[in-house]
Each structure stands twice: as C-alpha cells, then as structure tokens.
Symmetry: C2
Subunit: 378 residues, 2 copies
C-alpha cells in the first residue's frame, strides 16, 4: 500500500472529486462556459472570505498573490508596517525591499502572533504608514495574529490592512467584511483543498480606490488588471483553466459543509492534536497557537529527519520539518483540507508508533486517548 | 456529441494522458519523488529548447515568464530594444514601462516579422542597448521573426537576446544553443500541449551572469531565485505540482515523437491550412506567415463572431478572433498541440460547411482538396 497522507501545511489532502475536476476535457477560457465557471468561483471565494468584495484569481503561488497585493497597494510616501512573526512575515518585508517600498518592521518573537496593542503604537508613532501587513496564521511557527483587533485600528482610517491568510482562509474564523480587512490573500493548496498553482485575493472598496490611484511597479501581478477583467468574469492573462475548475469543485464542497462547520472541525482537530502531542511529551511550540496547523517540539533524542522519513515510509504520513531556526527542532502537522477525526486519529497513531520505535518514552495510546477526549466533546 | 476541438492558439488540444497525469494522487514537492520528476522535466525542456542551459519552471502564465526575463535581465543604464510586431511585442514594451526599464522600440507593420537587418541598425546606432526582445511567433498576427539571424548579431556581444517563444517552442525550428539565444520563454498551453498555468525559460550562461549581477525589481518572478532552487531540483515557492506532472507526461510524448518530426508535422499542417484557405477565398493575413498558427482574412460578408459561434456550436471547432485592430477581420487557427492531418482535415471541412451555410461563394471541397495535396507530399 502506498497511500499518500499529506499532513503538511500545504499541499494538503484534497478530495478525489477536486483532482478529477481538473481532468475534464480542456475548454477555452474566452467562452460563456468559462465565464460562468469563474463567476461561480468568485461567488464561492466571497463565501469563504465572508465578503461582498470582488475576489480575484491569479495563476501563481500564494507568494505571487501577496506580492501583487503589496505592489498594487503601495502609495508613494506611505510606508508599509510589516508584522514579522516568522518566515512569511519576513518574506513580505523582502518583497517590499525588492520593489523599494519603504517599511517599518514590527519584529515579533517566533511563536507569538502580532498584537493589536503594538500595531496601535506603530500607527500612533508614524502617520506615514499606509498599509499594515499581517500574517494571520504564520505557517513557520503555527502562531496566530490578532487580525480582528488589528482591523479595528485601520478600518475607519485611510490605512489599508493587508492579510496573508494563506494558511488561514477556510480554516479559522475570518470575517472580512464584518472585521473590515482590506485585502485578504490565500492560495489554492491550503484550506481550500486543491492542488497548488492559484492565489486568490478579496479586495475592499478602500483598497480598490488606492489600487486605481497608483502606478504600480507591477505588470503580471498588478491587481488593477485583474479587477478590470473580473468585471467581465475574465482574466487579463490566460488563466490556469484546469486548476480553476478544481477551485469550483472545492468551493462547492466547502459551501455544502458550511464555513462555520469547517472552522469548528479544524479547531477540534487542532485541539485534539495538541492534546495528543502534549500527552506523549511533545510540547506545542507556539505561545499563540493557531488552529490550522500545529508545530510541536520534538524530544532531544528524536531526529526530525528520521521521524519524518519513517512516518512517510511506514504510514504514508507526511508532516513538515521546521523552517530556518526551527529546522530539525519541530514537526508541523496540518489540520487543513480533506482531513477529519478519522484521518487525524490515523496520523496520531502513526506518530506514536514511530516515536516508540525511535526510543521515545511514553505510554502507547496516551496521545490517541487524549485526542479522543477532545473529539468526543462534540 | 459535444467534443471540444481547440484550434485556438492556446489553449490547444492536449492528449488525455496529459490531463490524467494531473489527476494522480497529490504528492508533496519537497520529496525525492518530486525532485526526480522536476529533474526529468528540466531535461525534457532542454530537449524541446535544444539547449544544455538550465530550464526553469514558473507557476504563472507565459506573460509571467516574459516579465521575469525582462526584469531579471535589465541592467542599469542599458536599454531594451523591443521588436514590436503585434499585440505581444507591444505587451513587452508595457512591461518595460511598468518597471521603468528604458526602451527603444522597433515598430513593425502588423503581419511582418522582425528583420535582422533592422535590428542591426538599432544596435549600431545605440550602444546602450543591453537586450533585444523578439517575439519569435507573434500570435496576434501569425507572423514569424528572423530569430536565427538576429541571434547572429547578439551572440558574440554583451547584448542579451530574449525571445518570446510562447507560440514557437515545440512547434517551429528553435535551436537555442546552436543559434545562441540567451533567454527563451514559453508557456504550457501552446505547443507543449498541456493545460495553462506554467511558464518555462531556458537561460544561457551570459544571461545567468547578468541575472546574478543585478538587483531586480522582482521577487516572485526573479529568475535568480528559480536558478538557485533548480540546482537542487527544487522551486523557490510552492510549485503547481499537478501541472508539472502534466508537463512530465507531455515532454515524454514529445521526446517519443521527436522534435524535428514535430516541426515537420506543424509545418505541413500550416501549409495545408494556408492552401485550403486560399482555395476557398480566405487570404492569409501575414506577409511572413509562421507555421504554428494561421491567420486568414474573412470575406466582407462573413461576420467573424457568427462564423466562430457556428463552428463551435455545430462542429465543436474553436478558432480565435483577431485581436485589437484585427478583431472581427481574421480568424486564427492553431497547428500546435495534439493535432495532425486527421484533426486538421476535420477543421477545414467544418470551416467549409460553415462558410457555405453563411453564403460565402466557393466550390465545396476545394479547401479540403488543396489541403490533401500538401498532406500527400509526405
């Protein structure tokens, strides 16, 4: 048996229906059929993001989507405040630097999320800040930021709030319109449970006005072009047609389950996994843990590379290593995509068996029992 | 029956095997299995481009690939010479403008290709030109440029030759190393007969040296990052895994047929189609016709939108309208992808039946007979 069980925080497990949707005979994108498809995709994205704002679809990774947001929303003379709580926060700072976008950096200790109180201080101190960039779920540390509270600071000002929701949208509560988040970006291969290759963004009226007013250092990733085409259910450049078809199918399945129900499912799986790991002696890394994925510190005696290799080879279970300073120190387990109690129980079982084989001391079944307690809460 | 026959110049008809390759269970990209896949893909691209240069794969459209080339290769103080023979030449000029890359424009009458003689004049006149940008096959006019001859002008100088081979690579003769082309860009949905969503580029040593020496206004599309990752058969950002798997299958099929044989097949289909169209009173538009697609002027009395709609509705045959100044004046018929004599005969037959129904005067079967004469040449 060689099943692949992706508990990596992207790509994740995706429904067969979604894969097969991409294998239908290829149609052209300048047709009524494709325009209808894109129209429904846009509506589905609006549902996931909980917004009535236009939602664009870009052929590219989540990074492409975020770069597009930053370069499209950068105003001359206005800085970006980068909330940097890990590898991805750091990356958006690098994007600013590449394009000469002046920035202030709110550097956050790894494992913590961005705090509204601190963001308020930066905004009070420096009136030239024109956009706040927050990674809602920092994938490198599995920590969550105070997005809703930060939105309260920006929503009635001319400061834009740009959110990397790449491992957040479709996994943890996100109420774009109610909270007042200006640009929300995500990618296809995370909680939207599809193959990688697409980025999506929801864009508020306030952000649209800024986008229309600036001449961005951007062409392919200029949001202006996507917004213009979207009015005709079209794309400015040839879209990744088969992947968009997967999106359509995935969004249909998300709608059928219900977004709040998905948030509850993901939260339960996260709490069960955290309880299981703590019960077998693996400490949760983040002080502000996010529910879309879990990072746990591995015991000194357990080599992460061996642990991951064994999990893959014996059980088909893929988990991620840490990144940068966490490489070899944590494993990261996703709760996004087509996973439920059944899958998560299988993964925890595999983790227990592998750790036992590697000599880690704990009571076999303790993790599973702890997980069951959480799962039984209903 | 509702078969879709794509004679549009991208997306094109693609083999079922290629579609189905993308529907295999999703694997993670940071695995030996994926690295092996990418390694073979890179080798396959080298074969298509006829080069030993590194070939990168980017999640994005062909435009993304071209933008990456331009911004990655732009040197301070060195202009770009844009050979503008149609909509795509014009687009690369706009990309330069968006990023503040100074440019000279060699404006070419629509229907003609870029001529080496003229490029030589520009190069002699302006020593600050640092890169020449040539659209090998201009998709908007179906005209071909003198790429091989232009390469003779740049190959022994420090000027880079950047080629949009989006509707050329894998369709018409292209000998990257023998000719000395520095950057060759193409997209997945053209002659490489896959769904849209990927761009590829072959990058010469001369171009690599420039790329390493500049600080580009680019992040996601910076070639530097892709070259660095490619050394480990990796990608800097999450790759479009399922599409890369389609690439692998398509390249395997291209290798099996043989690239020279494909060039001959495409050329024969182009010549047959041109002969057929002329035989039924549709004049070939381009003075320098390319073989990857054909643009023909439609008779005054025939409305292009009605012609296209009828071809689709009755025969499932999709052809493209003209773009910009050619909109409503030509139809464009692709010879790229999974098409052969059988398919092309079907399309010409459908065109004849539709034109006859629309009242155009010609001898039924004249187009097919003319095509047969070319196809019989062997």
């Amino acid at each position: 048996m060689a099943k692949i069980r992706l508990f990596t925080p992207g790509p994740v497990m995706i429904p067969d229906e979604v894969l097969l949707a991409a294998a239908q005979p290829l149609e052209h994108h300048r047709t009524q059929a494709y325009q209808n498809l894109l129209k429904e995709v846009t509506a589905g994205l609006q549902y996931v993001f909980q917004t009535s704002n236009p939602c664009i679809t870009i052929a590219g990774s989540g990074t492409a989507g975020m770069e597009g947001a930053l370069v499209s929303c950068a105003r001359p003379g206005r800085k970006a405040l980068i909330c940097d709580a890990g590898k991805f926060g750091e990356r958006w700072g690098k994007v600013c630097d590449a394009f000469g976008i002046e920035r202030e950096t709110y550097k956050i200790q790894w494992g913590h999320g961005a705090k509204a109180e601190k963001v308020a201080e930066y905004l009070a101190k420096d009136k030239s800040i024109g956009m706040v960039v927050v990674v809602y779920s920092e994938t490198s540390t599995a920590a969550v930021s105070e997005l809703e509270q930060i939105a309260k600071l920006t929503r009635d000002t001319d400061v834009l709030l740009i959110t990397d929701a790449i491992t957040a949208a479709g996994a943890i509560p996100l109420k774009t319109d109610e909270w007042g988040v200006d640009v929300v970006v995500t990618g296809s291969q995370k909680a939207l449970m599809q193959p990688p290759g697409l980025a999506y963004a929801a864009i508020s009226k306030k952000a649209q006005d800024v986008i229309q007013s600036v001449k961005p250092k951007a062409f392919y990733l200029s949001y202006k072009a996507y917004l213009k085409s979207l009015a005709d259910n079209d794309a400015p450049y040839t879209p990744a047609i088969t992947l968009v078809r997967s999106t359509h199918k995935a969004l249909e399945m998300i709608k059928a389950e219900g977004i709040e129900k998905i948030w509850c499912r993901v939260s339960k799986l996260a709490r069960a996994t955290r309880a299981a790991c703590e019960a077998i002696g693996l400490k949760v890394y983040a002080q502000d843990p996010v529910d879309s994925l879990t990072a746990v510190l591995t015991p000194e005696a357990v080599k992460v590379s061996t642990l991951r290799k064994t999990l893959q080879a014996k059980y088909g279970v893929h988990v991620a290593d840490g990144q940068d300073e966490l490489k070899g120190k944590v494993i990261r387990i996703s709760h996004m995509g087509a996973v439920d109690e059944y899958e998560t129980t299988g993964a925890i079982g595999a983790l227990e068996l592998t750790l036992k084989e590697m000599g880690h001391q704990f009571k076999l079944g303790a993790g599973l029992s702890a997980a069951q307690e959480v799962m039984a809460e209903g």
